[in-house]
Symmetry: C2
Subunit: 474 residues, 2 copies
Amino acid sequence: MPSIPKGTRDFQPAEMSGRNYIFDTVKRIFKNFGFLPIETPSMENIETLTGKYGDEGDKLIFRILNSGDFVESGKLKNISGEEFNSKKLSSLISEKALRYDLTVPFARYVVMHRNDIVFPFKRYQIQPVWRADRPQKGRFREFYQCDIDVIGSDSLLNEIELLQVIEKVFSSLNLKVTIKLNNRKILFGLAEAIGASEHFTQITMALDKLEKVGEKAVIEELGQRGIKPDAVEKMAAFLRFISNEKISSDLGILSSDNHSKSRLEYLTNIFNSPSIGVKGLEEMNFLIKHIKSFKFDFAEIEFDPTLARGLDYYTGSIFEVIAKDAEMGSLCGGGRYDNLTGVFGLPGISGVGISFGADRIYEVLKTLNLIPENTDRCVSAMLVNFGEAELEFALSLLAQLREAGIGAELYPDNAKLKKQFAYADAGKIPFVLMAGRDEILEKKVSVKNMQNGEQVTITEDEVSEYIINASHQF
Amino acid sequence: MPSIPKGTRDFQPAEMSGRNYIFDTVKRIFKNFGFLPIETPSMENIETLTGKYGDEGDKLIFRILNSGDFVESGKLKNISGEEFNSKKLSSLISEKALRYDLTVPFARYVVMHRNDIVFPFKRYQIQPVWRADRPQKGRFREFYQCDIDVIGSDSLLNEIELLQVIEKVFSSLNLKVTIKLNNRKILFGLAEAIGASEHFTQITMALDKLEKVGEKAVIEELGQRGIKPDAVEKMAAFLRFISNEKISSDLGILSSDNHSKSRLEYLTNIFNSPSIGVKGLEEMNFLIKHIKSFKFDFAEIEFDPTLARGLDYYTGSIFEVIAKDAEMGSLCGGGRYDNLTGVFGLPGISGVGISFGADRIYEVLKTLNLIPENTDRCVSAMLVNFGEAELEFALSLLAQLREAGIGAELYPDNAKLKKQFAYADAGKIPFVLMAGRDEILEKKVSVKNMQNGEQVTITEDEVSEYIINASHQF
């Protein structure tokens, strides 16, 4: 029995229908908010990707073996002894890799096509990405990202647009979510306030695990990473404040709004002014103030100063969306990057973007029974195949139906009726048409309604109209 | 300046619109003919792919480097001296590869999911494939295939369905094409008739190049491949007959119908009966007889007994579609395979399928100016950004428009008016809304129609209705 690589999947028609429901929904909303589609190649030159996702990320990039005979070409001649390791070998025999996300290829795209682009550029991109991660629930080695980014504008109104897109997507999918909001500048202010700004990266990396490992483990890790005890103690106090607040919120004592407010106050008190941290708080206040113009029915927005997001290139707002009624990690995430195009030679262009994880959203919708029945049924009629003698009549009937715009199929084999009906049944085809020898003599067709079992015999000329009228009744 | 791997492409919004026009068209027609969507992973286990596309094909498969440290793991320890070649090294450090087409992964899919499938199974699949081919005009290293196959039925009615799908697709795209039709059984009959049936594979390989290299070169190649002189002479006579006929046809002396007829007669005369060749002629006669039930306005069907198709797995009908008014090789091709699932452990399941090359179709449509203007404009209004003081009014107007279902954007930055209008212009946004200090005081909005330059000032409450009514006029 053949198999497929671990962490990858086949999608059968029923799954495709559910997945297309998600893709169609996000695409419609992206377009409606003025985002334009682009696509980039699955393969990028290796130097485009490496160094953008941290050391851990680099290890998860799938590399593509050069084609042609690399041994004969002499490229490997100098490999021997000590120097012979996987990294060196890889670099000699592989120059391309599969994309790891859509953001870095997008930055590369912006730089390459800068002369064709009118900024601010709002693009959407829906394509698969590949990561050599250990496969687990909701985590695959090939999965789709649905990205939107606005590049070439540092206005916080773009963040507000993204928040509205999130609300619109999840309300269209009928899924309640929480949008966690933070700002890298606030995180930096926090590092500064506890007196450990030189350990900013370590602090974000530790905080990024908070949800997974808990408060105590994060505090321990900070100590191990060489942060001074009094700084660690200040961070511990902050985390205690957050978790106490969380309890009040879970008990319903604190509303999500007051929640955000009290956190902003706490930080305002411990930050020096002026500072990067205070700038971050101002940005957060701007967002919280102006999102009030819009309805957020399905997405609850919460300022979470412990939200870190793993990726190094974020410099401002960061977002993460989780489902309220299912355990499935992040369904959507993103943030602002002030200089992602800089590494490709075009500095000073700020952008902000988010990425919807279609695969996880699908899993959540499935769990919560929120995927609608396949509604794009396209075939309305199946003609029974009675064999060679009845073929000409069947084909002309088929042509007549199609001319009338009716999706129709003729069962290809002269199989037993039971088998032919089972096929129509499995395909949820609503009408089965039968024209055997007797019917053909009278130029008639028997039409069976597969939903109520009723059967009528009508003339050949009436069939298209009959199907069209009867279909309206569903 | 960054770059992308050779043979790959970025697609900008305008190109995406043209490409989506093609994808949407084929998808709509596939569904209307009762084909169901599936998707398979980009990566397959290497043994799924190798040996299916001939030696040349195997060389063009992109392999993926194993992740992890393959040197440390000891896998490469035994490599030394003579045995150390690219093929051996590849097999030690690479177990997966990118799919080369959609047919072989589909066969693998059918075998793996046989218990979930109701046969005959009609599937469509639209996904990219990768080939390490030398890039050239209309040939890329990553390109999309749009496949349909019917598997689990050996009825020739399936071939007739595929021919109709081809007609429907190209008539929807307004593109005139020729469908060349042949049958591998006829090719075998031909090899038999000239007394060289043991050289069947070589004959098909040589004929496959006829279009490219011409009659003389094909005849020469047959001699070089060890086919006896009298057999070669018989083949030469056959090719002369075909090319003379082609001339009569080009001159309008022979209609495409009579064309096919005279070729069938020629072959009937030289084939022994009963034989595989005669069976092939019968199948061809069946198709030619029964397609008459249907209209073929954009696709002209021609029986071409020199059509060979490179792939080994075809056993019956073969198809190739070329544009009438452009030079671009095959736009669509396919055929019947009697045992493709056999290599995966499920013998005796016949299938037939075709593959549309979206990239080449796009190139042809572009050359012939047949791609419609982007019709899925989704944003109807852009709000000018006048800065912080006017922001609240602008945001509430934006919310009002969106509530009314109108695609709208607020320009994110307080940039010069000229720049903001240039953005609306580039995005073909039909209305620009302006609410500066004066308008806000009176709760009014100025609406500029970007197509005729007219400008009106209306109250805030009237804006949504105004845009909706005015949009109907386009």
